[in-house]
C-alpha cells in the first residue's frame, strides 16, 4: 500500500493522485483536476501540495499532524477541470515538530501555482495540557 493510500485524506478529498519521493527533502506528485472535485480546482491544488508535504515528512513515521500555515501562495491563472498539475514539493526546514515546505506546480511545463506550507505535529489535538514534545 502506498503512503498516499494511508493518508487520512481519501476520496473525495485526496488531492494528490500520485507521488514519487525523490529524496529526503523532495517529493514529486500529480494532481488531476476533475469535474467531480469537492472543492474548486485551485483549492484542491493547494491541498495537494500540503498532502505531498505530509507524505514527505511522515511517510516513514506516521504521526497525527495538521496543516498549520499557508504563506506566499500564488496562482498565476485559473486552474480548471482537465488540468494535470505536476508538483515538486521540497522540505525547507523542520524544527520541534513544525515543518516548512515550498511547493510549485506546473501544467504543461508552465508553472501556475506556488506556495509555502507549514505542517505541525498534533501535540495538542486531544485537548489536554500535555505538552510533551512541544518545542516551546
Amino acid at each position: 500500500m502506498s503512503w498516499l493510500a494511508s493518508l487520512p485524506h481519501q476520496i473525495p478529498f485526496r488531492a494528490a493522485s500520485a507521488a514519487t519521493r525523490v529524496d529526503d527533502k523532495t517529493i514529486e506528485g500529480v494532481c488531476v483536476c476533475t469535474a467531480n472535485d469537492l472543492m474548486p480546482s485551485g483549492v484542491m491544488a493547494v491541498e495537494a501540495m500540503a498532502q505531498l508535504g505530509g507524505g514527505l515528512a511522515f511517510a516513514d513515521s506516521p504521526a497525527p499532524a495538521f496543516l498549520s500555515g499557508i504563506d506566499r501562495c500564488e496562482i498565476d491563472r485559473a486552474i480548471v477541470t482537465g488540468d494535470v498539475i505536476r508538483f515538486v514539493v521540497t522540505l525547507d526546514a523542520d524544527f520541534g515538530g513544525t515543518f516548512r515546505f515550498t511547493g510549485r506546480g506546473l501544467v504543461d511545463g508552465v508553472e501556475v501555482i506556488r506556495g509555502r506550507f507549514y505542517l505541525a505535529k498534533a501535540f495538542h489535538l486531544r485537548g489536554t495540557e500535555d505538552t510533551e514534545g512541544s518545542p516551546l
Binding site: S68, G69, D92, A93, G96, G97, R100, L136
Partner: protein, 107 residues
C-alpha cells in the same frame, strides 16, 4: 580620496551587542511580517513567545531558519530554543556565543 564615515559606520565597533540586538529585531520584523512595528517597539527583554510578542511554533521555526541563513548557526535541538529564544537579549547572547565558538573552532 579618503572616504567619509557615514552615519553609524562605527556602531559595530563600539556597540556590537546593541547592534546585534537591533539587527535581530529588524530580521524578526521582516521575516515574521510585523508590518506596523519598528525595532524600537520591541524591548530587549520582552518575552518573544507567550505573554510577550505572542510568537508561536511556526515563528520558532522561522527564527531557526533565520539563524541559519543570516548567521550560519544551526539549532539542532529544541532545548537550545527553549533556553535561548526567550527574548531579544537571550537570542543575541546565543548568537554571540555560537559565533565565538565557531571562531575558536576555526583557529
Amino acid at each position: 580620496m579618503g572616504g567619509v564615515a557615514g552615519p553609524g559606520k562605527y556602531v559595530r565597533m563600539t556597540q556590537p551587542m546593541d547592534d546585534l540586538r537591533k539587527k535581530l529585531k529588524e530580521l524578526l520584523i521582516d521575516r515574521l511580517k510585523f508590518e506596523d512595528m519598528t525595532p524600537d517597539d520591541i524591548k530587549d527583554d520582552d518575552p518573544l513567545f507567550a505573554g510577550g510578542l505572542g510568537l508561536d511554533s511556526i515563528d520558532a521555526l522561522e527564527i531557526v531558519v533565520m539563524l541559519e541563513t543570516e548567521f550560519g548557526i544551526k539549532v539542532k535541538n529544541e532545548s537550545a530554543a527553549r533556553d535561548n529564544f526567550h527574548s531579544i537579549s537571550s537570542l543575541a547572547d546565543f548568537v554571540r556565543h555560537r559565533l565565538a565558538d565557531e571562531r575558536r573552532a576555526q583557529v
